[in-house]
Amino acid sequence: MEVRVANVRKEFDRFPALHDVSLDIKSGELIALLGPSGSGKTTLLRLIAGLERPTRGKIFFGDEDASHRSIQERNVGFVFQHYALFRHMTVADNIGFGLKVRHGATRPPAQEIRRRASELLDLVQLSGLEKRYPAQLSGGQRQRVALARAMAIEPKVLLLDEPFGALDAQVRRELRRWLREIHDRTGHTTVFVTHDQEEALELADRVVVMSQGRIEQVGTADDIYDTPNSPFVYGFIGESSSLPVKVENGEIWLADRPIGLSAPHAPPGDATLFFRPHDVELLDGCSGCIAGTVVASRRVAGTRRVELEIGGQRQRVEIELPVGHPAAQKSRVAFRPGRWRLFPAA
């Protein structure tokens, strides 16, 4: 099922949580809504579900305007951040709940509901736990029961709110791989919310980066990482370093010196240069480069992170070097960013 969010605005008590957001989700796609807290990602998910109504704008399921449909009519599978399993029901009853509350002829007989629950438990690899209560399950198991329960109603769209947020790192990685497998097998259009970029980039077909109630960028993991389209995305996704620079005659200047990068199409004036700390070319001499004094050097996993103080403005940037690189021992380092991008100064 395709989902189209068209110019949606949402206010809570006059306070805007989403400004004019539009998003097309293709059928069968796995989409991540990624952003810091307060970016509106959960609000957008709840609007798609029908747990909230938009202040303005429309939400389409396929060609049908679903904006005024209730959550029951939308037939979405929603997995809540803290799972919201019914604690007084067994695992099987939790999963069968959506079928049990159907009316009249659409409600399957009790035996069929039980069969379906076991089938879904198989799918989420929890066979044999039918009779357990949620309190008797681990966090990872509850998460999977919640997903099975959401899938039991054969939803048009599967929505997950911070699905792995409450789990520890190990379980989180396993469940991530497992969710991808389930998605590939069942083909549900799936949207999940996360503040964890690694999770979003690894799992999703496309990532929607959000900030302050707006969508900053939509794209594949490669798009988002390699060509961020705003200072926010540059800063939010992966590591980044930035320097205030000036553009003159198509050349980029740092203070009073050109740094050997040309930007023929950039408008002249103040700008900010963004680059990835690991994507730098170290230079020996320095005519047309960025040079700085080493103020700190830290070992981070497989690399060494070096903090440099640049020029007279005492601007600090970070670059990453291979662990054994001799430059890390020096007091001055000169480099030039490999892939970089310029944004007009704010």
């Binding site: 579900a49 747990l51 209730s70 959550i71 029951q72 037939n75 979405v76 599978g77 929603f78 809540f80 803290h82 919201a84 399993l85 019914f86 604690r87 007084h88 709940f97 959506g98 509350v101 159907r102 690899q125 309190a135 008797q136 399950l137 681990s138 966090g139 990872g140 198991q141 329960r149 959401a150 039991a152 109603i153 520890d168 190990q170 379980v171 396993e174 497992w178």
Partner: protein, 294 residues
């Protein structure tokens, strides 16, 4: 798949450090004061009630209880409880739902209002109804013209009892529902349940022990209420006397056995309530909110 974080079911024992533990003599004195006080002011009277009730033997006791006025007092008390407790269950659930599950103007006011019966003397609660429904009262004339009898009749007694007992269920459920939030209800709705199914299958089971606890306390108070009921009942023997009022009448007539026999029933109710309450707290303490002690 390994899930390392199976939830532990071991209860948390509050252990205190040696530094804040009192010396043995101090402990003994504190315990002696507590037990002595409870013994003299609570346990002793309870024993006397049963002692006096049975002072002239079991026959006199059963005879006192089979007196027709006593019988009708018992029936009236049961009737009043049977009406006012369900009313307060409905009211309590509605109020708790409104306060805990959604936002509206005047919420703080409603919350305060629910506590009013606790802060007002029961006699005042009764007097309010006299001023409202009495012959000289605000609605007295209209009621009389339409032949409706509220004061000095069952409706008045029920109203006074409802007034006095209405915080019990609501106060029990509000913190419980607030703590549980809307998550389970949203989950039920997302799975296609309608409002009624959500309430019946999800909300109610989530609060059932808290609700039972509230009902228990509400019932104990409904059956034991004296002040408010005394003002509105008119003390008509065999008609508008509830058990507590009947105890007073019998006692004033120097019918000690009769008075204490009826009192023993009320004391028995208190004991049963206490036992059930303790059982509930032991078993479902975590699910019963912390608004105890009324």
């Amino acid at each position: 798949m390994a899930d390392p974080e199976i939830k532990s079911w071991a209860p948390d024992h509050e252990s205190r450090s040696a530094a804040v533990t009192e010396s043995r003599p101090a402990q003994a004195v504190l315990m002696a004061i507590a037990f002595g006080f409870l013994g003299i002011f609570l346990l002793l009277p309870l024993i006397i009630v049963f002692h006096e009730a049975l002072a002239k033997g079991l026959d006199a006791y059963t005879q006192a209880l089979s007196d027709s006025d006593t019988r009708s007092a018992i029936r009236l008390t049961l009737l009043v409880a049977a009406i006012s407790v369900p009313l307060n269950v409905v009211f309590g659930i509605s109020a708790a739902w409104a306060i805990a599950k959604f936002e509206f103007k005047g919420k703080a006011f409603l919350t305060t209002l629910i506590d009013l019966p606790f802060s007002v003397s029961p006699v005042i609660s009764g007097l309010v109804y006299v001023l409202l429904f009495g012959a000289q009262g605000l609605l007295g004339g209209w009621l009389k013209a339409n032949g409706i009898q509220i004061l000095f009749a069952v409706p008045g007694i029920v109203l006074a009892t409802v007034f006095v007992t209405f915080p019990f269920v609501a106060r029990e459920l509000i913190p419980l529902m607030q703590e549980q939030g809307n998550g389970d209800e949203e989950a039920a709705l997302s799975l296609g349940a309608n409002g009624w199914q959500t309430f019946w299958y999800v909300t109610l089971p989530n609060v059932k022990w808290g609700l039972l606890y509230g009902v228990l306390l509400c019932n104990a108070r409904a059956m034991g209420e004296f002040g408010a009921v005394s003002v509105v009942s008119g003390h008509i023997r065999g008609l508008t006397n509830t058990m507590p009022l009947h105890v007073e009448i019998l006692y004033n007539e120097y019918n000690a056995v009769g008075a204490f026999a009826v009192a023993s029933l009320l004391a028995g109710l208190a004991l049963v309530t206490l036992v059930l309450k303790t059982l509930l707290e032991m078993r479902y303490g975590a699910e019963i909110a912390a608004s105890r002690g009324h």
